[in-house]
């Protein structure tokens, strides 16, 4: 398969790349690195990426940015960070991208544990993930040409433990290669409209 992997330089993206590259052609996309550059908060940048890459069998989008901070001090502008990147950015990858995906291809987006199991400071991130999850479930029933769509909801990663553990007390991190298997299930499997939780 020909796979477009957005966010390939991140922790999850690297693990997904490693998992898939031996069996597939993986085109790495990212803001600051990769075969093609993309800023998913910009429709123009997304459109230019698809134009440059052409037809693919799968599009994988890893995390996207979210705002993390106390609800009491959160402003609409703070929340907009999550809306523009993790929520609208990922949805727009689908809205602008489906013409570039081959028949019976797939989209795999990324959500996260906070939508099910919230932590202090995580309301904006939870919102973005919950929106993506519901979009995926609804979009699945009307994707054209048998294109599938799923999302992966990972726990905190082993690799990011030092950085995030203080904010996720009692969360037991998962190794990124295990998370990568959920993306593989979405790309190489046959399911659609699913949320693969890796908690």
């Amino acid at each position: 398969m020909r796979i477009l992997l957005i966010g390939a330089a991140g922790t999850i993206g690297s693990a997904v790349h490693k998992e898939l590259v031996s069996r597939h052609e993986v085109i790495a996309a990212g803001r600051h690195a990769g075969d093609v550059r993309v800023d998913i908060t910009s429709d123009e940048s997304i459109a230019a990426m698809y134009e440059a890459v052409g037809k693919v069998d799968a599009v994988i989008s890893t995390p996207g940015a979210t705002y993390f901070g106390a609800l009491e001090d959160m402003t609409p502008e703070h929340n907009e960070i999550s809306i523009r990147s993790k929520l609208a950015g990922q949805v727009n990858l689908v809205l602008l991208g489906h013409p570039y995906v081959n028949d019976r291809g797939s989209f795999t987006l990324t959500t996260g544990i906070l939508m099910d199991d919230p932590v202090l400071g995580g309301a904006s991130a939870a919102m973005a993930s919950g929106g993506v999850k519901a979009f995926v479930q609804a979009a699945a029933i009307e994707m054209p040409r048998g294109i599938r769509i799923n999302n992966v909801s990972p726990n905190v990663l082993e690799e990011s433990k030092e950085k995030y553990e203080p904010f996720f007390p009692g969360f037991v991190p998962v190794p990124s290669p295990r998370v990568a298997q959920a993306y593989r299930k979405s790309v190489e499997g046959g399911q659609t409209g699913k949320t693969y939780t890796v908690y």
Copy 2:
């Protein structure tokens, strides 16, 4: 209690008004009618509403606008309608409004059946509802001063049957007075972080 009801002129808003007005002081807000005018897609308008109304015990937000249309033809601009109104509009009512809500007061937002039970054309609406639901669950654990937050997820309404039934085949509509009871449960009860589904 002193209750600010946004969208008071709508089908759900009217039913909620009718249910609550005999026992509470209800301040009606809306885009084109009400004691105070508000456009929830504008932070300035939301701030001006709270400034005009002052302290309240409960804020209730009824539906908000969403985009309805085939996924294949949906553009980022179409999807933005749902993001700005039903999603960010309702979240911003909370972010900008909690200083105006009395201790142990409440917010009640509105989601909808499509986030759980999708229909053709409903992906954008599902996204907005899913985002609000996840925000509510996460925000509940860090609201200041014992303020509670819930959301009501209604089915298609009896009163809107003629208009919406072709798009919701096999959905059994619920009467709006029954939906209004879920808002009452949120405002007069003690629960927080909940989704009250009225399907």
